[in-house]
Amino acid sequence: MGARAFFWVTMVAAVAFSDGISSAKAAGKAVDIPSQEWSFQGIFGTFDRGELQRGFQVYKEVCSGCHSLNYIAFRNLVDLGFNEIEIKAIAAEYEVEDGPNDDGEMYSRAALPSDRFPAPFPNANAARASNGGALPPDLSLMAEARSDGSNYLFALMTGYRDPPAGIVLAEGMNYNVYFSGHQIAMAMPLAEDGVDYADGTKATVAQQARDVTAFLTWASEPNMEQRKRIGVMTVLFLLIMTVLLYVSKRRVWAAVH
């Protein structure tokens, strides 16, 4: 009996322990990132469609001027609750380069749902040239490429302050509490009422930050809802199966000892 209890404790401890290690690795960040409440956290968490659509609007109207979203195609927007006609219309607002045609010429055409979001700059050098030498990174994986990604994104968007006395910012830099090193080349991207939300929500900075964070969290892992749904079913199935196996094991072993 003791050995069995020990077995369980160790298995659980092993998981908790390695998790501890990964957060220990993350602890390199200087400032604590405040945790927000998100609809998508927890094992039953799902995205809020309204939030995603508003976040998409923020990305489209604000961030996409500098940041690409390379891994997202227009067709992926079904996840946000848009229907096929709406997606075609959204795609058609963009021009993409295609070709070569029969004459060997490249040409531009309206984007289709199967196209990916066009990047704002043709290459990294062009992006740097328009941003004072700094490169605006692709945003499709941003929520996973930073530890505690969603909370970090919200904190970054709302973390702009006047630099504390004694700190001199380098040329073109802005002070942000949560950016590592605190000096970031991106000026505060969000402004009060910077977008005009289609659903009438008041566009405070915090509201836009929340919405765009939810959108980027979805963009980082569009299959998250499916993953959790399958996970719940899998674990339930395994729990039942394991109980049955345990009962069988007891039966088979009843004669031994």
Binding site: S22, K25, P222, R227
Partner: protein, 417 residues
């Protein structure tokens, strides 16, 4: 010949010409196994199952992966987003590597505690250490394949270690890289080897199990099986017990795969590799951390590399360092204490491996490294001489010496079970 009598005529026809069914019956069905194995003995078969999981998911991933510096990262993201259930396959494979090490590390510490490395199981143990080395090489090269920042910089740091070898070091590094830095040729050869080595592991596992079946499993008492009353057939007793253990394992594994799939990974590996930007703190995967701590504890590069490899090398000679004739730690009062100290030392080294090499961390890592080798090279040989073991039970069927229960058991007729 007292082979099993198969009812199916086709099976009988084949078995007469190729006695594969007889072999399976001997080794997986009637195979006599000590009846007192505890749950720590589940981890061997569990390791085998995880190996199969890794092979299956790995082969599927290969169907969609592109081994080229310009496409590798992108192809992994396509697997995550566009391949049907690709995210599941990749999360199982990535977390499966971590769980493989968890399972095998438990399996090894089980062996350390119960003295499973002692005669006549020395070769079995050595084959196990070979498996561990192959696993490490495989996992290291696998981590390079997604071509994220940690892939690239981990590969750069670890391959650079070989340059410390006098004379041929630089030549080895160039050979590993296929050029003058970690680049496309490196990725290609790592991919090739990452596909190959798991099959080498399968081969060594076969030898490992072959050697195991020569004398059978050790057991928590560490004493030999004395006769029929001490053992039970593998099937159904241990098949059902292993399946229950597998169920428990799969619950924990699935919880991680489906609910926190990136908890054991590093966020930097979701940034595409960039040779121009060095991450602030380059850390290997958690299962390499104790060795990484040993490497960095030693100020000299070459000595650090030697110490790191010696940390595993010492396991090869363990059967000849621990000369105590008593296998199981249960009957070795002093050894038992030091076993737990060694485990604590390994946990400490794991923790330190993730810390930057500065200040108190360096000092602790040096103490931890010293203690690790002290345990194997000084303590174990000394204990073999100075420790007085507790009296051993006479047999597995009569485990408790001198108590009322033992007397009652001894009074029972022997022919049952």
């Amino acid at each position: 010949m007292s082979g099993p009598n198969f009812p199916n005529p086709i099976v009988r026809w084949i078995d007469h010409r190729l006695p594969i069914f007889t072999l399976m019956h001997h080794e997986m069905h009637e195979y006599p196994t000590p009846k007192n194995l505890n749950y720590w003995w589940n981890f061997g078969s569990l390791a085998g199952i995880v190996l199969v999981i890794m092979l299956v998911t790995g082969i599927v991933l290969s169907m969609h992966y592109t081994a080229h510096v310009d496409y590798a990262f992108q192809s992994v993201e396509r697997i995550m987003r566009d391949v049907n259930y690709g995210w599941m396959i990749r999360y199982i494979h990535a977390n499966g590597a971590s769980f493989f090490f968890i399972v095998v590390y438990i399996h090894i510490f089980r062996g350390l505690y119960f003295g499973s490395y002692k005669a006549p199981r020395e070769l079995l143990w050595i084959l196990g250490v070979v498996i561990l080395l192959l696993m490490m090489a495989t996992a290291f090269m696998g981590y390079v394949l997604p071509w994220g920042q940690m892939s690239f910089w981990g590969a750069t740091v670890i391959t650079n270690l070989f340059s410390a070898i006098p004379g041929i070091g630089d030549w080895i590094v160039t050979l590993l890289w296929g050029g003058f830095s970690v680049d496309n040729p490196t990725l290609n050869r790592f991919y090739s080897l990452h596909y190959l080595l798991p099959f080498a592991i399968v081969g060594v596992v076969v030898l490992h199990i072959w050697a195991l079946h020569r004398f059978g499993s050790n057991n928590p008492l560490g004493i030999d099986v004395r006769g029929k009353q001490d053992s039970i057939p593998f099937h159904p007793y241990y098949t059902i017990k292993d399946m229950f253990g597998l169920g428990v394992f799969l619950i924990i594994f699935s919880a991680v795969v489906f609910f926190m799939p990136n908890a054991m990974g590093h966020p930097d590996n979701y940034i595409p590799a960039n040779p121009m930007v060095t991450p602030a703190n380059i850390v290997p995967e958690w299962y390499f951390l104790p060795f990484y701590a040993i490497l960095r504890a030693i100020p000299d590069k070459l000595l650090g590399v030697i110490a790191m490899f010696a940390a595993i090398g010492v396991l090869f000679i363990l059967p000849w360092l621990d000369r105590s004739p008593v296998r199981s730690g249960t009957f070795r009062p002093i050894f038992k204490v030091f076993f737990w100290m060694l485990l604590a030392d390994c946990v400490l080294l794991t923790y330190l491996g993730a810390k930057p090499p500065e200040g108190v961390y360096v000092i602790l890592a040096r103490i931890g490294t010293f203690y690790y080798f002290f345990h194997f090279l000084i303590l174990l040989p000394a204990l073999s001489i100075f420790e007085t073991p507790k009296p051993l039970p006479r047999s597995i069927s009569q485990p408790v010496l001198g108590s009322g229960a033992a007397a009652a058991a001894a009074a029972m007729p022997k022919e049952n079970s």
